[in-house]
Amino acid sequence: MEQWERFIDFATAHINRWIEDKSRSYNLHLAFEELLSNIIRAAGSAREAGSSPVILEISALERADNNTCWFVLRTSDNGVHFDPQFESRSPVDTEQPVSERAIGGLGLFLIMQSVDQVNYQWKEGHNVYELSTQLAAESSQPEQGSAG
């Protein structure tokens, strides 16, 4: 957790710079926080099991496709291979009474619910996640950045 603030501050600065709408900005921040929490928790478990320290890199970038512009937060880590299977994942049963709720699963559910696109790839020994939010047409083009 020692780098927690650094990663959060990096993402927050770029989110605030790119996304003006408060609700969309909040939701991307929420998705990133949940993702970072999952990555760091997995890295901690792996390290307790004797694995090497995990290196996490975060990038903020703009992508354009088919006349649509996206702001993308990308993470890449060399931790244990973990595919969250966003495409086939069962949704949290939001109708289930709270008294019967299990504690797990909310984080991944919030990631999926809070951004326009979420992607996962296992690429050259790295877990690569992308959280994408569609930008308004009039958005400017700030510089890219990265932290790791």
Binding site: V92, V98, L106
Partner: protein, 107 residues
């Protein structure tokens, strides 16, 4: 952002006034305060969120924990959460477990 929590205890109700972010790093502080309460004996738990800027799933889990420990007939009030926090609570289905009010005067 750091989280500060002030606790006011009554016989059958308790109020926690929070200020800051309830995220992965700070939610254990909220859970610690909740654990120290006699949740099973409370008729009301009031969580003052007027000065809370952000709540992650870790914060929601603390709320679920409290509600599960409280009597079935009890009420858990969330006071003054932002529209973004209300949206998060609603889309996770937790709105059924809490009563959301704008201010303490609405209770």
């Amino acid at each position: 952002m750091a989280l500060t929590i002030d606790v006011v205890k009554g016989d059958v109700h308790a109020t926690l006034v929070l200020s800051g972010d309830v995220d992965t790093k700070t939610a254990p502080e909220l859970l610690g305060h909740l654990t120290s309460l006699e949740l099973h004996a409370l008729e009301q738990l009031r969580l003052d969120f007027i000065e809370v800027d952000f709540v992650s799933s870790a914060g929601l889990r603390a709320i679920v924990f409290a509600k599960q420990k409280m009597p079935h007939s009890s009420r858990l009030y969330l006071i003054g959460p932002s529209s973004e926090i209300v949206e998060t609570i609603t889309k996770t289905g937790l709105a059924q477990a809490v009563v959301i009010v704008e201010s303490e005067a609405d209770i």
